[in-house]
Symmetry: C2
Subunit: 433 residues, 2 copies
């Protein structure tokens, strides 16, 4: 693109929402991304940075001047700022803190005092509160006075007593459909359970889904209202959870940048390839014990990947089901037995079916009933092993605090490779030599 | 559980939200699930059914009496009813249609006339509309008159002209913070672009995320307001998209029931195993061409799975990145070249690195520099092939209308297996015999 086109691009950028700019930036290769970023007006920087995935954001921050970073934080919400500030070098953090007024600094410190993956770390402090004893008419006048200071995504106000203890919510829909002479206490909803500041964010997401919430109150240990969580942050959370499972199963982070610098990418991927190389060598080491057998019946070398691969595929299906069950909170040690029983039955049905098919094909191919019987038996053994590992491994990993979405696949295929080669070559050594 | 416990369970169920009941039902094995379902009061049936995943829902419906199904639809929203009714046998559908009043039937027919995966299929028809020329005070009085008929999740009203053409939105937050003497036209927001009824639901989800929407208007081809989409349905959509990618890569549907009946499960899984068996036999067929080579150098049989497996792992990482890029609308034929260039560079760096490592280990293991050189070369070749296929295959599948999340993995590992075995055994045949 030439000068004119870039100028046009700059004009176009001004008309876009920060999330749209972020979307375009992520879809651009590195050098074009930097050029577009430099074209962006400073007042768009902050919100755009917040919409970017972590890796892309950090990379742009590396090339930004300290003053520009501080300027970018000017229009950020407190919850965004809290996420943002934790990734900055400490001297920039101090600079940002100094640029805030007293009230915002206190709010930021509140949010920062809770772990990022809890309701406290997710919340914003921009709550509008009312007392239960006032009339709706008073509330309406109060809101008109506040005017622009009422956040535009407000769907409900929070009802608190003098001590700031949370009592209930007043939905705007209820505020405007009821008689102005009624009191807040008469109209407010008691159904919305507040989140404790330390509630894990995955529980927050599930409750938003189950109750179709638009916003929800957050209280501290003593029941004081400290903030609110809005559904737009929950939407991002749910998107991230889904991507974490999908990307994690390939050993990638959900923040992986499609156009990350080659060396950075290579470094991250090298770790994953290295782990897999270890497991591949383990499988080879198993095969190595059967060199004599392979030398005498070379057909075994031709057929052995089939047994290992079918075990891997069958086991991955069980594993995937179990990982999702754990993520949704629907699978635990309580009902794992039922899942195992069902998966074993499925493995047996499919093991028998495909053992017959593979046996017939292999038997005809190599003119040998013995080979047919051995591969059929190995197939059944491996599919059953795959079902057991697929169902129980994720629960075990979860108990050990290891993320099953990340480690499950590698470990499972290690087992199915080893069992596959061992059962096939082992049975062949016993019965065919 | 005995009789008393079940009675307690029934009492407990009455206190739960439909989404919570659905969550529990999904976590129960088949027979316990049916018992709990039978315990449920009829008035909870409808909403609970809507919260269940498709497979679990259909299975419960199979055992339900026609009258109970019709009764369950009584309290459903039109958008839910539209999803629901499409899965019923046609005689039950007719019965449900007959049970509706004239207005609801017309609304349902409107929603049913659009494909399920479009804005029209996703919308609800419960919009509250106001005219631009009236004052906010009039709006407030109108809303008080409507009272309970204003949906509780209303965050904004829609402004339309006399012909029902969409003009803009009036946020409740703006309604209550502005002077009651102002007109709707002065206060309304023009920023929310309405969705066309035929907008694909994935675009709807992305726009909700980018603009942090709570609800959005849907218009027909002539610009008439026909309904609204609410964020709770979008949340479900985003959850499903994430699960589709994750489950799809294992050949499972995102609706797969953890405790589906064994035979049904086996049947669905058999297809996937069968497809994989075909690709495994293809790999074996390739190996079969090198029987002579394998007979003479049995070390090749021991080492060959390493080359295939590393290609599969490296390719899957590229594939995963590309599938996510396509799903987010950030990867297309326009920037695919950049991704391919970067992935090739990454494959070259990691190919060289791990080729050296594998070469050294294999060389020491089998006391052969020749084997070391052959496996190193094969590894580089396969990782490069994996990067090319991983980056371009999903785009090609997408163009052909085939879901890359479903078919990508199988096709990729077919290529990496074939290229892995072919390059390793081929090079060995050329240089080692």
């Amino acid at each position: 693109l030439d000068q004119d086109s870039w100028r046009e691009a700059a004009a176009l950028l001004r008309k876009l929402q920060p999330a749209e700019i972020a979307h375009v930036l992520e879809a651009l290769p590195l050098n074009q991304r930097q050029i577009l970023w430099d074209l962006l007006e400073t007042d768009q920087d902050g919100e755009t940075l917040m919409e970017l995935t972590e890796n892309v954001r950090n990379e742009l921050l590396q090339n930004m001047h300290q003053d520009d970073i501080v300027a970018a934080t000017e229009h950020m919400d407190v919850d965004d700022l809290a996420d943002f500030i934790q990734e900055l070098p400490s001297n920039v953090t101090e600079e940002v803190m100094r640029s805030l007024d007293e009230q915002d600094r206190r709010r930021l410190e509140t949010v920062l005092s809770y772990p990022e993956d809890t309701a406290g770390g997710l919340m914003n402090t921009d709550t509008v509160t009312v007392r239960p004893e006032v009339t709706l008419d008073v509330v309406l006048r109060y809101l008109r006075q506040l005017g622009e200071r009422v956040p535009r995504d407000t769907d409900q106000l929070f009802v608190t007593n003098r001590d700031d203890k949370y009592l209930g919510t007043l939905r705007l829909a209820d505020l405007v459909t009821n008689d102005p002479n009624e009191t807040v206490a008469e109209v407010m909803s008691l159904g919305v359970q507040p989140f404790n500041v330390f509630t894990p964010d995955s529980d927050v997401a599930r409750r938003f889904e189950q109750y179709d919430l638009l916003s929800a109150p957050v209280v501290d240990e003593q029941g004081h209202l400290v903030g609110r969580i809005t559904v737009d942050d929950v939407v991002d959370l749910i998107r991230e959870e889904g991507e974490h499972q999908f990307m994690g199963s390939a050993g990638l982070s959900e923040d992986e940048d499609m156009f990350a610098p080659v060396l950075e990418s290579s470094k991250r991927r090298a770790v994953w390839l290295g782990i897999n190389l270890l497991t591949a060598f383990l499988a080879s080491w198993v095969i190595g014990h059967f060199e004599d057998t392979l030398e005498r019946i070379v057909a075994l070398a031709v057929l052995m990947p089939i047994v290992a691969s079918m075990g891997g595929v069958g086991g991955t299906q069980t594993l995937t089901l179990a990982i999702r069950g754990i993520a949704l909170g629907q699978l635990s040690s309580k009902n794992a037995g039922y899942l195992l029983a069902k998966e074993l039955a499925v493995a047996l049905v499919n093991g028998l079916l495909w053992a017959v098919v593979v046996g017939i094909i292999a038997g005809i191919w190599f003119h040998s009933t013995d080979i047919a019987l051995v591969i059929a038996a190995a197939m059944i053994i491996n599919l059953i092993a795959a079902a057991i590992v697929g169902a129980l491994l994720p629960l075990a990993l979860d108990k050990l605090g290891i993320d099953p979405a990340l480690a499950g696949g590698v470990l499972l295929t290690t087992v199915t490779d080893v069992v596959g080669f061992l059962s096939f070559l082992g049975l062949a050594t016993l019965f065919l030599l």
